[in-house]
Symmetry: C2
Subunit: 222 residues, 2 copies
């Protein structure tokens, strides 16, 4: 399968690119608004993979071209860019493709980080509103720490929660999650359940900041 | 230390009463609006503890009398009763006491359970608003499954998140949590961070319902 990581030059894009490159045979395509940045990141990730004994190839393209080449398109962009990014690639996704959103809306004050959803109710709902009707949206990978993904020596042993109204699309993304050693995909229901899943992101940051030895935190349901 | 579980005839009250009785030397007092129900539950829990080889004694009283006898008062009541319950016992708590709230506001629809906070912003904030000024409030035990607590043969191996603006009170409740084998207390910050913690409750129910083998679910941060 071919996976595009739009905004793949950022932290979560890097982490997922390296993990899919390292653990799976899927083609990974890095997208960026700046094609030169996409090429450079792809080369950088390939070099990291090579240093870990992997010969996985990673390519880089402008976001719309990256989306055009892929079956599964991950919106690895900040939450305030997800709607713009979906619009920018709308002509390059269609039936048979899947959009994946890992973003959560956050605010920060003196107490810590807080969940701050857009008016659509969640970032996942915002993506679903912006996506072409024939393209299913899956929420996933919210609770994965980017730094831990990007450290190929780090054990993961964490869960990721999947949200979708299209069960086939959810199963496909659950399979991609399970392809990464140490990630267990769990079904969290339909898109209407996204706010509680996205709320994990600020919670994980707060807990990591306040408890010794818990940086780059993930979660295991048990 | 003496711990009162107001509404301790319910599921979460039973679970915490049995675990503190079994794993710690703390005095456990069951509170209920109906003193006869409190007595009956206390006798029932004592019998369960005895069947597991424990000689822990548990007593039962009307809520206000239970609160009066305790240093730490856990509001083990449904979220729509927390404000009433705090008002009912306000004359029986004072400086040196701690109020603990494990409740989360939920709604349910065809998609599953959703976090539905009161207008105060969280159940924790509602309790803080209702509590006497000199009594600190700690949010805790939201993500513990009552049925798993009540099964003294079950391993817990889960975390609980602590919320408080009073660090001493938070430390005291963290200590009580740690007294239960298999529970690790983690600091989630001040009361302003409560919504994200309370949102775990509907999330855990949704995940438990949708994934085989994950009933009575808890969470471990790692």
């Amino acid at each position: 399968m071919r996976i595009a990581l739009l905004g793949g030059t950022g932290d979560i894009g890097e982490g997922l690119a390296l993990r899919w490159g390292y653990h799976s045979g899927h083609d990974v395509v890095i997208g960026s608004r700046d094609p030169d940045a996409a090429h450079a990141a792809a080369d950088d990730y390939e070099a990291t993979l090579e240093s870990h004994g992997s010969d996985a190839k990673i390519t880089g393209f402008e976001n719309a071209m990256a989306a055009d080449r892929a079956d599964v398109i991950v919106l690895a962009v900040p939450p305030y860019h997800v709607a713009d990014t979906v619009e920018a690639v709308a002509d390059n996704v269609g039936a048979g493709d899947i959009l994946v959103t890992p973003a959560a809306g956050l605010t920060r004050d003196e107490d810590g980080f807080h969940y701050h959803p857009p008016s659509a109710g969640s970032v996942t709902a915002l993506v679903a509103d912006a996506a072409p009707d024939e393209v299913p949206v899956v929420g996933a990978f919210h609770s994965l720490a980017a730094g831990r993904l990007a450290d190929l020596n780090a054990d993961l042993d964490v869960d990721t929660l999947l949200l979708a109204d299209d069960e086939d699309a959810k199963d496909t993304v659950a399979g991609l999650a399970a392809d990464i050693d140490g990630i267990r995909p769990l079904d969290a229901g339909g898109l209407a359940n996204a706010a509680e899943v996205e709320s994990l992101t600020p919670l994980l940051i707060n807990v990591a900041q306040r408890n010794d030895g818990l940086s780059d935190l993930g979660v295991r349901f048990r």
